[in-house]
């Protein structure tokens, strides 16, 4: 199990760096959604199914939709 969490955390850090370094804001939001997905997996590995379900139900759709509406009403890419 510890090996799986190593892999997941390395991927999570990579995606987090990606989400703040991408110029295109939509791509940054997509990377943010993937970070939320990995965090939900880690919560399940830490034996917290309640929290994993909360992160799943919030992060799967609602957070991404709110960000994308924000991006749509403003600018698509960071200058």
């Amino acid at each position: 199990m510890i090996l799986v969490s190593w892999i997941l955390i390395v991927l999570m850090i990579g995606l987090a760096v990606l989400s703040i370094e991408l110029k295109n804001l939509i791509a940054a939001v997509v990377a943010m959604g993937a970070v939320s997905l990995i965090i939900s997996l880690l919560f399940l590995l830490l034996q917290a199914p309640d929290v994993a379900m909360a992160e799943a139900s919030i992060g799967a759709a609602l957070t991404m939709a709110i960000y994308i509406i924000g991006v749509r009403e403003t600018e698509r890419s960071e200058k």
Binding site: P49, D50, A52, M53, A54, A56, S57, I58, A60, A61, L62, A65, I66, I69, R72, E73
Partner: protein
């Protein structure tokens, strides 16, 4: 350049402080003090199989009441910002319609999402999940409806009535405890019932259902505000 170095040093100090603090609490060791009490006595005292539920709703129920009011404040803030201060609206654009698969598929999926959200918050004291999770699942269903049928509006009056009734249920159940012999807020006055069945744990399932309706209506209100800012109000210049 110097500024960035100062910022980096600042961030490094915070991380080093975190590392030094958590060096005293090694990962995986048993550091419970209050948690042991809850685990040993939670089932007998509250009757809920899920100890997290009994911590959220029973031992720290007052905290949850405050948290629900924070949610209400945020939803009201979004509504106020978009409806009263909406300035500088854009012109209406030509929006593409959703395709056939999305329309029919979402019509099939939407009842399942509602059913599943209801399952999650009705079974909050037995399985993982509860009002917060089930409410946000139902709000995601409303988001799906907005995406596949642009132009739908949720009945805002109905939403606010549901929200108010749910909040009222929580507060009334809490205040009822003041009139029982124990004289405490949010006292679990109903009978505990048979352990690990649907009707058990006294008032906890009722409160979780109320929280589920409240969270669902608040997030649906937020989604309605934001999508309407994009779709419905585009034409008014």
């Amino acid at each position: 350049m110097i500024r960035k170095i100062v910022y980096a040093i600042f961030a490094a100090i915070i991380v080093i402080a975190l590392v030094m603090f958590f060096a005293a609490y090694p990962f995986g060791a048993n550091k419970m003090a209050v948690g042991t009490y809850y685990l040993n006595h939670g089932v007998a005292q509250t009757g809920a199989a899920n100890i997290v539920t009994s911590v959220v709703l029973d031992y720290r129920g007052f905290d949850t009441l405050g948290e629900v009011s924070v949610l209400f404040a945020a939803a009201a803030g979004v509504a106020i910002l978009f409806f009263m201060l909406g300035i500088g609206k854009k012109e209406r654009e030509n929006l593409t319609k959703p395709n056939f698969v999305v329309r029919v598929g979402s019509r099939i999926i939407f009842p399942f999402i509602l059913l599943f959200g209801t399952y999650i918050f009705v079974h909050g004291h037995l399985t993982p999940g509860g009002g917060f999770q089930g409410g946000s699942i139902i709000a995601s269903g409303f988001l799906l409806l907005y995406l596949s049928y642009p132009g739908t509006r949720v009945n805002r009056g109905g939403l606010s009535i549901i929200e108010g009734l749910a909040g009222l249920t929580f507060v009334v159940l809490g205040l009822w405890g003041l009139f029982t012999p124990t004289d405490s807020f949010l006292y679990n006055f109903l009978p505990k019932g048979l352990f690990n069945t649907l009707v058990s744990a006294g008032i906890l399932p009722i409160i979780y259902i109320a929280i589920g309706f409240k969270v669902a209506s608040e997030f649906a209100g937020i989604v309605d505000d934001m999508m309407c800012e994009v779709i419905c109000r585009g034409g008014e210049k």
